[in-house]
Symmetry: C2
Subunit: 204 residues, 2 copies
């Protein structure tokens, strides 16, 4: 990830920025739901920070699009990209609004928890216990998506959050994982994280 804290224009790759905005907006929505489901103030704050990052990316992308348009044909082709970028921005705003609920002093209405029921089936938070098969494994070598149909979307390590961790990231005892996927897969991962299950074998 690039450091974009000082917003000054430098040429960016439209493709890279649009892809990052797209992926980030998707993950932000699941992180915002997770913040509500697991009452996590820290996770909610992470979502708000990501929202600022999307705003910055959006600004840089808009400038690159303008500079790339040299004639009407270019402009027409680039308008679609601007539309997708604006849509990811809307999604990230929605995610930030949902995450903000956790930061308010008032409790969450039971109706909200009930509306989140379907989401609860595909999102889970779990801690890596001593002796777990996952301890000191790189995310890439686990092939979780292929093996049990789940993704690790965030790791909390002490006070630090690692959002959308890379394949080379090593999981450690004491980490809290936020995981999304098929209900059976997340149940399986919970058992592996706790050390109860010592195999990825799907033949259960």
């Amino acid at each position: 990830l690039h450091n974009l804290e000082k917003i000054e224009y430098k040429p960016v790759s439209v493709k890279e920025v649009l892809t990052e905005m797209k992926d980030l907006s998707e993950i932000m929505l699941d992180l915002a739901y997770s913040a509500v489901l697991f009452h996590s103030v820290e996770l909610a704050e992470e979502v708000l920070e990501l929202e600022e990052r999307i705003d910055t990316l959006s600004y840089l992308l808009d400038m690159s699009i303008m500079l790339a348009a040299r004639d009407a044909e270019d402009a027409e082709a680039l308008a679609g990209i601007a539309t997708v970028a604006a849509a990811t921005n809307e999604i990230s705003d929605a995610a930030a609004d949902i995450a903000s609920l956790v930061l308010q002093e008032i409790g969450l209405h039971s109706v909200i928890r009930e509306a989140f029921q379907k989401i609860e089936e595909r999102l889970m938070r779990t801690e890596i216990k001593s002796g777990s098969l996952l301890d000191r494994k790189k995310i890439g070598e686990l092939e979780l998506a292929a093996n049990i149909g789940v993704d690790i979307i965030a790791i909390r390590r002490g006070k630090e959050w690692i959002i959308d961790p890379e394949l080379k990231e090593e999981i450690m005892e004491g980490d809290f994982l936020i995981v999304r996927g098929a209900p059976l897969g997340i149940q399986k991962l919970r058992d592996i994280a706790s050390g109860k299950t010592r195999t990825f074998d799907r033949g259960d």
Copy 2:
């Protein structure tokens, strides 16, 4: 689904409407991505219709919330519900904007397809061929989420679209399914839909 085409206020269950808005907004986003990935004008039009439905639900919900608030404490608790409803509305607007790209005359820029690469791994369209294990099966009896970690989010039958089909819906030869889930699971479902694979056995 209720018929809400004539918008006149009648008391609605806040819980039911919020849940429907929430579920619908999630599915709309995946349907909008599918419309782009599979160049489906009809699916894009379905997304725009769903967006109108969300607008109607949003209007009814806002009224119910106002009527339910009798004192400041009520109002505080209900404000969170209004925030979630507004967020689902934003998500559905974003989905409609993305779907609209398919309805424009101009072609999609290659950068958009590339940004959608991760989405492409978890969304698939497939046709039910003669002799498929899925032919004349009710969705509920297949337990696709539990068996192979995938969901059927829409069915196209002739000119008709069935969005977020119920468990009692029967799949028929010639149906096109839009499916989302883990990459291995959607590959498996493709083989079952085509008749190439005759079992849900995961031990492959």
